[in-house]
Amino acid sequence: MLNSINHHQKLLLHRSPKCLSPSPFSTFPLTLTENLPHPLTPPSKPTSQILSIRHSLLTHQLTAVEIAESYLTHLRRIEPKLKSFLHVADEEYILNEAKEIDNKISRNESVGLLAGVFVGVKDNICTGNMPSTAGSRLLEGYRPPFDATAVKKVRELGGIVVGKTNMDEFGMGSTTEGSAFQVTTNPWDASCVPGGSSGGSAAAVSARQCVVSLGSDTGGSVRQPASFCGVVGLKPTYGRVSRYGLVAYASSLDVIGCFGTSVADAGILLHAIAGHDRFDSTSSKQEVPEFKSQLTASDNFESRPLQGLRVGIIRETLEDGVDDDVASSIREAASHLEDLGCTVTEVSLPSFSLGLPAYYVLACSESSSNLSRYDGVRYGNRIAAGELTHLYGDTRAGGFGPEVKRRILMGTYALSAGYYDAYYKRAQQ
């Protein structure tokens, strides 16, 4: 897939998918900032692509247009096999954005931290200049009149939104096969799924079609595809990032998350989009700490830099039903943390097994409510009918996929009179 890479592309890649095993922990330890490698030598340890690009731009070694063109060429070449994007922005738009950055740099004006960086955006996050379908036929062609706050922040920092990535319809699924439009392949193995529901975002970053991407996580939809595609996936704490512009699935669980090829990149992207938003009452008012500068190379520490930190490992996550490889990976990570100085203790969460059913009840209930607005009356694809109930019925029957219908039905049932106390209320507790 990546055989005919041009010279510039080589600068930005530090590994080819075939030679590394898909271990989610291969990004340890971190190295960045001061010790950026010479552009002509592929670095042996993961770095921050975002900061590499920034360095290249500010030292005039590369222009934003050059970087954009090389990424775009690569994206297009592999896209027919990978199918990670539902919509790719116009070439003209992308190159104009890049040109703007070059102009600013040549005028010695400051550019944002994400200047020239290709960002993929999951298709359930609203972008004003591109369609946002949430992977559903019902919203095919729907173009929102506004940018999600997270997208607005990315753009304010100079990030270039290259396109909208594929996903399970309305975020319901864990393989991205639930998309109404196409199936995304796993860049590592075409017979494997990329995971879901943010499969497109994970695959795009994994295949270097973009530097970083935004996804959404309600029940693992950033973390799981990140693992499947061998990239870093970060699910922020609920409320850390504004949900304004994220097509709602389960309002009390949804978060916008970050994908990157390194923890540093995921962290930089998180820092860019985090913070209180007055358009989202559930966004946290807590200050966003300046954690970018705290991502330090482990080489710079004396031994055991995490001395004194106590980490719990949940016994129930390693018990029956968990794949042996997964269990051993977790134990490996635990021992690595111990090497870094942590005290790892096993803890028990007896109610842990109730997590999944509780999630299903809550998520389905809230989604049945959040998806009520898709009726074809004001936007979306309407199937005309002579009578109101038929309009609603036909539009939703025709526009929603089977998994979405299943969850709406379950959610409606769980909220209906006589069942609210038994299901939703109990799941909340």
Binding site: S281, T282, S365, T412, Y424
Partner: protein
């Protein structure tokens, strides 16, 4: 339906009391015809007697045996600058779909953010209705599908409304018997309004206007304490007064800022069990509320008294103002399941004691207290209601009193000449040129004898229409009342000039006093005080006899 019933009274009297003979067919009464023939043949003489007996039983007597239980649900549209959950302004009458944004349109990804003014209005109203405020309340989603509801759910409050268990005091209008009443308030809660549907005349399509979607509402649910149409109408009127006094709503029913739905059931007096509840909608004025209730009570009483209780079904009826009757809109097939659950996009609403106290301190004097205060000034109930029930008139009245004017005199002026002018010219008290200061001045000028009452009325007209000051007008037109000494001089002059009439008077024609009084008045150019004039005149006239 009424005509069928009537026919029943004449030809099939016994059938009325045995409802098994009647079958229901979509609200139209049919009767098995076979049994009729036999009935008619065998009871030929009886029909007439029963018919007259029924006609003798007047409606009033019937009504005395029954009791109506009435409750009212009122929706108050708050006059906040922006909508409940977004920054859109709301202007009644705007072009369709011009006051909208992603939030109130329910676009994918949009989220509600609470307008804090809504809470302020809710607390104000809750306090004014003597309610218990919930220090921790929340919003819930009320879910149903309709094209004017963009999100497919309405953000409302279900089980923890912001205010509960209050009451409202009011006085029934004097012309309807007067009387003080207290009606309970079950709850007050916050919610958002839906959009509007405009239906094409030919029924081929409907259009959705979302301007009104998201406008904040307060829903007030009363206890079923009202018993008559008048009580219900006055309850509505008092709520209107209250929201206008508080400044939370303009209370205009024609604009839809204040909407009332009535729930009514009827039961025989003495029965504990409630009758079947009927909802009435489309009430666009307080008098419509009164008339609709009266009609509905009559309708239900008539059916009950004829043993046709099963024809009263739990349903929603519309008030047809043209035909002056209620008509079936839709039958309620059990209660709707709105699948309420707490709104996850909005945090809980927490009220602190300090916040509540600061709002309580900022409340204006409310109508009930005002009425009681005016009553204590010795004004009649008629006066009290006129003055207190309009916030602007009350303000004018209070301002006049604050300048030292006598309450009764001020009341008379306002309710008399001033009200008449306002009615004729269709102006409100804030639009006339007369100020409360000048009214007070006018009253004291008359009281002190500077000008006569008659002159007072004249300059009042000028003050209302053109403005100006009392002192200024008196000076300008030289209107100062002549004093007693001058009156005496004028009387002497007139008597001297009319010796013949004096003699006639002294001879017994006492009616001539009016002639003399008129002459003196003319002499004084109307500036003589009639009372003093006549007193001195009589003295003079009777002096020598």
């Amino acid at each position: 339906m009424a005509s069928l019933l009537f026919r029943g009274l004449q030809f099939r009297p016994l059938c009325i009391y045995s409802s098994s003979l009647w079958t229901k067919k979509v609200g139209v009464l049919c009767c098995a015809s076979n049994s009729l023939q036999t009935q008619n043949v065998t009871t030929h003489e009886k029909p007439k007697k029963v018919a007259t007996r029924n006609q003798d039983k007047t409606l009033d007597q019937l009504l005395k045996n029954y009791e109506a239980i009435i409750g009212i649900e009122t929706h108050v549209q708050l006059s906040t600058l922006t909508k409940a959950f977004c920054g859109c302004a709301y202007n009644y009458g705007s072009e369709p779909n011009t006051d909208i944004c992603p939030v109130c349109m329910g676009l994918p990804g949009a989220l509600p953010v609470l307008n804090s003014k809504v809470i302020e209005c809710a607390v104000k109203l809750g306090l004014a209705l003597n309610c218990k405020l919930s220090l921790n309340s929340k919003f819930d989603r009320k879910q149903y599908f309709y094209p004017d509801l963009p999100k497919g759910y309405q953000i409302s409050q279900f089980d923890v409304p912001i205010a509960t268990s209050g009451y409202i005091d009011l006085d029934l209008p004097v012309e309807f018997g007067g009387g003080h009443r207290r009606f309970g308030i079950t709850r007050v809660h916050m919610e958002e309004d839906a959009g509007k549907l405009l239906h094409a005349e030919d029924g081929s399509h409907s259009q959705v206007d979302l301007n009104r979607a998201g406008v904040p509402l307060l829903e007030i649910v009363s206890e079923p304490d009202m018993r008559t149409g008048i009580e219900a109408a006055e309850y509505g009127a008092e709520l209107q007064r209250l929201v206008r006094y508080l400044g939370v709503c303009n209370g205009n029913m024609q604009e839809g800022s204040l909407r009332c739905d009535v729930n009514i059931s009827v039961r025989p007096r003495g029965q504990d069990e409630f009758g079947t509840k009927v909802e009435i909608k489309n009430l666009n004025s307080f008098s419509a509320i009164g008339r609709a209730i009266d009609y509905e009570i009559t309708r239900q009483v008539q059916l009950l008294s004829q043993g046709l209780a099963n024809q009263i079904v739990q349903e929603t009826r519309l008030w047809d103002d043209g035909a002056q009757k209620t008509v079936t809109m839709r039958k309620k097939e059990g209660l709707s399941d709105y699948r309420y659950f707490p709104e996850p996009d909005l945090p809980e609403v927490t009220l602190t004691k300090d916040y509540i106290d600061s709002i309580r301190d900022s409340l204006p004097e409310l109508p009930e207290l005002k009425r009681r205060r005016y009553e204590q000034m010795g004004l009649s109930m008629q006066d009290v209601l006129f003055l207190a029930n309009d916030v602007n008139i009350a303000e004018f009245f209070d301002a006049t009193l604050s300048k030292g004017a006598d309450a009764k005199l001020a009341a008379n002026w306002i309710m008399g000449d001033i009200a008449a002018y306002m009615k004729n010219e269709k102006l409100s008290i804030t639009e006339i040129k007369l100020t409360s200061d000048e009214l007070a001045e006018l009253i004291s000028s008359i009281q002190s004898g500077t000008i006569s009452g008659k002159i007072g009325k004249e300059i009042l007209f000028e003050l209302i229409a053109k403005g100006g000051t009392v002192k200024g007008l008196i000076k300008e037109k030289n209107l100062v009342q002549v004093n007693s000494a001058e009156i005496e001089k004028m009387i002497d002059k007139v008597l001297a000039e009319n010796p013949k009439q004096v003699e006639q008077y002294r001879g017994g024609k006492t009616k001539l006093q009016g002639f003399f009084a008129g002459q003196v008045m003319k002499e004084s150019k109307g500036k003589a005080n009639p009372g003093i004039l006549n007193k001195i005149l009589l003295q003079k006239l009777n002096a020598n006899s």
